[in-house]
Symmetry: D2
Subunit: 137 residues, 4 copies
Amino acid sequence: MPTPTQVVDQMYHNDAFSQWLGIERLVDEAGRSVLQMTIRPEMLNGFDIAHGAITYALADSALAFAANSHGRQAVSIETSISHTQSLKAGERIIATAEEEHLTHRVGIYRVLIKNESGATVAIFKGTVYRTSKDWEV
Amino acid sequence: MPTPTQVVDQMYHNDAFSQWLGIERLVDEAGRSVLQMTIRPEMLNGFDIAHGAITYALADSALAFAANSHGRQAVSIETSISHTQSLKAGERIIATAEEEHLTHRVGIYRVLIKNESGATVAIFKGTVYRTSKDWEV
Amino acid sequence: MPTPTQVVDQMYHNDAFSQWLGIERLVDEAGRSVLQMTIRPEMLNGFDIAHGAITYALADSALAFAANSHGRQAVSIETSISHTQSLKAGERIIATAEEEHLTHRVGIYRVLIKNESGATVAIFKGTVYRTSKDWEV
Amino acid sequence: MPTPTQVVDQMYHNDAFSQWLGIERLVDEAGRSVLQMTIRPEMLNGFDIAHGAITYALADSALAFAANSHGRQAVSIETSISHTQSLKAGERIIATAEEEHLTHRVGIYRVLIKNESGATVAIFKGTVYRTSKDWEV
């Protein structure tokens, strides 16, 4: 069985969009992922703040890494996000995904995204279906 | 009061991320938006399919355009998405946002994203808070 | 393989809470359920309108019936509801559950609840995990 | 301005369905509510476990009490729940609602429901719109 870092290395290595976002991995653990990125001007919407999809993207990557880290392939089946504070270009954000529930077939994760002051900027919940297919690294 | 197209023109004109995505507007109506885009290689994740944030982004832009089209500024307070089919590079997708409920302060929107075969690839729901501030164009 | 009506008969026959609610089944189909009930005084909250759990209950029963009607046991893994209009004692409501997506292991359902005037009073979405266990009736 | 307990007393006093459920209030604080109840046979579904609406009801009441406790009337606009463990008749459950985000117009709450062993049986999230109307007690 591969380690969490081996699985996430392989996922991240091939993940063009996470790389476009500039995501850096701070923690790879079984059921847990901590990611960091910085908002760039091309990520802003018409209000001159980060598009909602940017924090969604960071949270969704954290979900994918945390849920696959056990070594079994997992796919997202439902996600929700509340954006609680706006972000400007240059701000650095950190997402922490934690496992809230895990059965043989289903996992539920909560991801909080915070800015540099420690304020919560997004609250995300993700549910995954765990397939029968193991990661091979 | 500006028209839906005037509001959305202004939103889109300044929306760097929607432009990066290559979003094209097909319909701007009061409470309704139809958008189109094509998946590019830099939008893929480690499974070589579109990152979940790409369809989220298209749906979230459709939500923003539909909800602001009445001429009053609206901000997203809760969104959820289910990804029901994967997408490869080169696929064109169309998102249709429809208003399901509208009061003085709250709006609820449903966005369906379909691929070129007409299959649903994502089901999105968004709730907005309608501020007291009108759009000036 | 049992018919939808055979499965739902068995589910409903043993469902004490659906019976307390006074739920009547109007349609049992594969992937579809239509249910009706009337709001009673003991279902009201402190605002003298139906408690949010009453419409949730009707929608959740419709989800369970629609999702199990294929003959395989399905369990809810995530549900959400928006209450869009309040209900007083004596009002009759109808819930219609429709299947939006179905794979071997996952089903997504949308349930709309309407009052006697045809106005939508609640919008519900439910995701189920489909087990390997068939219904025996 | 009334205290949290004064507001929740008034809400609970008139809440017929919360009383049918047998809800007991353990904590009334500004932005926080802890409630307890016991599963009864008439609350079970066709699988002989608590109907999903029972834990939803407890969580939704905790949301309403926590959100209104500031003295301003608040109404639910979106709620979601994941049922993570089944409950049998006789089991006692405790719901704790915590405020995750509060602005002038919007509040976001998380409610966890646990059984007597401390295991999480349901994860709930609720978003409310805060009206301009104060509670008078």
